[in-house]
Symmetry: C2
Subunit: 359 residues, 2 copies
DNA sequence: TTGTAAGCGTTATCAA
DNA sequence: TTGATAACGCTTACAA
């Protein structure tokens, strides 16, 4: 590969001049510039980005640390990050599948000197701690932290708000007896959603009843089991709020099996708005989490931070969520933003087919 | 940030010795090693990867150039790439949304000196040409090329084979009169699928009839229009093969609207196996393209190439596809690999919920 | 077993 | 407006 030296030699100038032409950092005589440009073209010279960043100590690259890449959720986060990166002129260096803190550390180390900052997501306590420590090496934006963190910037999903909104929705539908299937203990999303549920009930003057709360673990089968338990209740609730859509789908299966009509006999609500939420019968009323916006915001936050260095304490944002009213709670009307065209044409169909080879 | 020089000074050794301890490239006395390790720990020293790769001219990074990140398809490709990268000890530098050849070029240039090779996907004629040119700068594996390319390694989806398999399946179901909705002209996927259709018919001794072939453009609405046209035919075919699932969904809509029962009166088949193919009514018989495998293979091919330099001409692989028999062609049996559990529990549900925050 | 010093391909600081 | 040359942080001959 040709280097800047080859170009300089061919153009009969010094490397400094070539650099100036390439970057426009200082005035260069037109005749000289021309000679240099010709030499660049002749060699098809591409500056060596790594060498460049060694002197400038700027990489124009963002490191992305994710626990996984599986599923629509992470896909959307990455798309948001990519969008933000493009808007701000950054590249993205991705490292994923950090099952444990050690692997995460390794991924981060490999980025040393190759990124200007980090967008990270940590699934659990250990990894969250590791990422917090990384903020001594890089500027970091931490997505949806497992536990509250002060040392680095964070963007948290409004789990509490979403749960409150959902319970209020159920109350507004006239349901007074509302049960919940909770997520795994120690999971921040799960706990915030649970907290929102209890808060909204109390605010409405209703005491949350232990007999209506079932421990799940975010899997469909745990939702199914909870559904059977609820079906067996002597006085079942009028509505059940599942801490995620997977469990809500499990509830639907159980109720269908038991011949309990949804939403006629019991209303079912979820959280996350996973793609199949639109396809189950009845279509699931849930809380939409906008992963794309999460990624986009993270990048915006990070690049702002990178551009004008640390100024004040790291910001802590909250990503709003949105109630999506479908049919599983007995909707009379559709949420505006989730409006569905006629026939079998689902909301995401175009995006999906664009995503295939057939585009 | 601490450098190798700081560490060397603190440990009372030369930078060369620190490097040797870090990389294990030469024997170091135990006592020395200990002092160095302590200094490394004290400074929490992380070697500067960019500087390192400047001397070694190896980056342990793969550049990924994609036209888009949208949808399940690209998500799966990236996941496959990521998996392959992890297995082989590479990082991935992603650049996407290359609407045109210029943007693609820019993305590639930014990778100069930062990657050991490239996995690229080009949607059209121009970008494919650009990528072919890139192979003078990097080792390149080109996914699903728009047109045949010799200069760089490629992995193509077995569109032809898939179409042949589908038509044979329809023939085996007893359908003799088989129509097709084709994809856009000039699109390689579309043309290969169309070619497969005609080939399979001829092989069965059936002359493809122009009156049964409808030009589509991969959108649902073009499928819908074709469906209406087919419904209006005096002698409609017994089956229709759409060149992608989006158009097949459009066909289903049209037939439903016209009161034509599927698969009772007419069979419908698609290609791609997009997620909603499982959810439409009747569930769509289609050809599955394994995007994960595509990404994984590409990385394997590329890293093999990187490790033991150019040896012989660039390889050209074909990614097999798989027929997925569901209900839209009157299935009596289910394809083994697409077996569906009872109730509303869809195949991908676990993966999807793992992809959400709720994990 | 260790140290010295020459790169790697840029940019940046001085002088000229 | 240009050219020498010293960084940047590391690896790697070559010597000791």
């Amino acid at each position: 590969m040709a280097t800047i030296r080859d170009v300089a030699e061919a153009a009969g100038v010094s490397v400094a001049t070539v650099s100036r032409v390439l970057n426009g950092t200082a005035p260069v005589a037109d005749s000289t510039r021309l000679r240099v440009e010709q030499a660049v073209a002749r060699f098809d010279f591409w500056p060596h980005a790594a060498a460049r960043s060694l002197t400038t100590s700027r990489t124009h690259t963002l490191g992305i640390l994710l626990p996984d890449l599986h599923g629509q959720f992470f896909s959307e986060i990455i798309r948001g990050i990519d969008q933000g990166a493009r808007e701000t002129g950054f590249q993205i260096l991705v490292s994923s599948s950090h099952a444990d803190a050690g692997a995460l550390m390794l991924g981060a180390r490999a980025m040393s000197g190759r990124v200007d900052g980090l967008v990270a997501m940590a699934p659990d306590r250990d990894t969250t701690t590791v990422i917090a420590r990384l903020s001594r090496k890089f500027p970091v934006v931490l997505l949806n932290p497992h536990h509250p963190i002060e040392v680095c910037a964070t963007i948290a999903v409004a789990n509490f708000d979403g749960a409150v909104a959902m319970v209020k929705h159920l109350l507004a539908r006239g349901h007074r007896s509302i049960g919940m299937v909770t997520g795994p203990l120690g999971n921040m999303d799960a706990e915030e959603r649970w907290r929102g549920y209890r808060h909204a009930l109390k605010e409405a003057g209703i005491a949350p009843q232990a007999r209506l709360q079932f421990q799940g673990d975010f899997t469909e089968s745990s939702g199914f089991r909870a559904g059977l338990a609820i079906a067996a209740l002597s006085r079942p609730p009028a509505a059940v709020f599942a801490a995620n859509d997977g469990m809500a789908v499990g509830l639907l299966s159980a109720f269908r099996q038991q011949g309990i009509e949804v939403p006629g006999r019991i209303a079912v609500a979820g959280f996350d708005d996973i793609p199949i939420a639109e396809f189950v019968v009845p279509r699931l009323t849930t809380v939409h989490v906008d992963a794309f916006a999460l990624g986009l915001r993270a990048v915006k936050m990070l690049t702002a931070f990178i551009r004008r260095s640390p100024a004040g304490p790291p910001p802590h944002q909250k990503l709003p969520v949105r109630l999506v009213v479908r049919q599983s709670c007995g909707a009379k009307r559709e949420s505006v933003s989730a409006k569905r065209p006629a026939a079998v044409r689902p909301r995401r169909a175009d995006a999906l087919s664009r995503g295939g080879f057939s585009s």
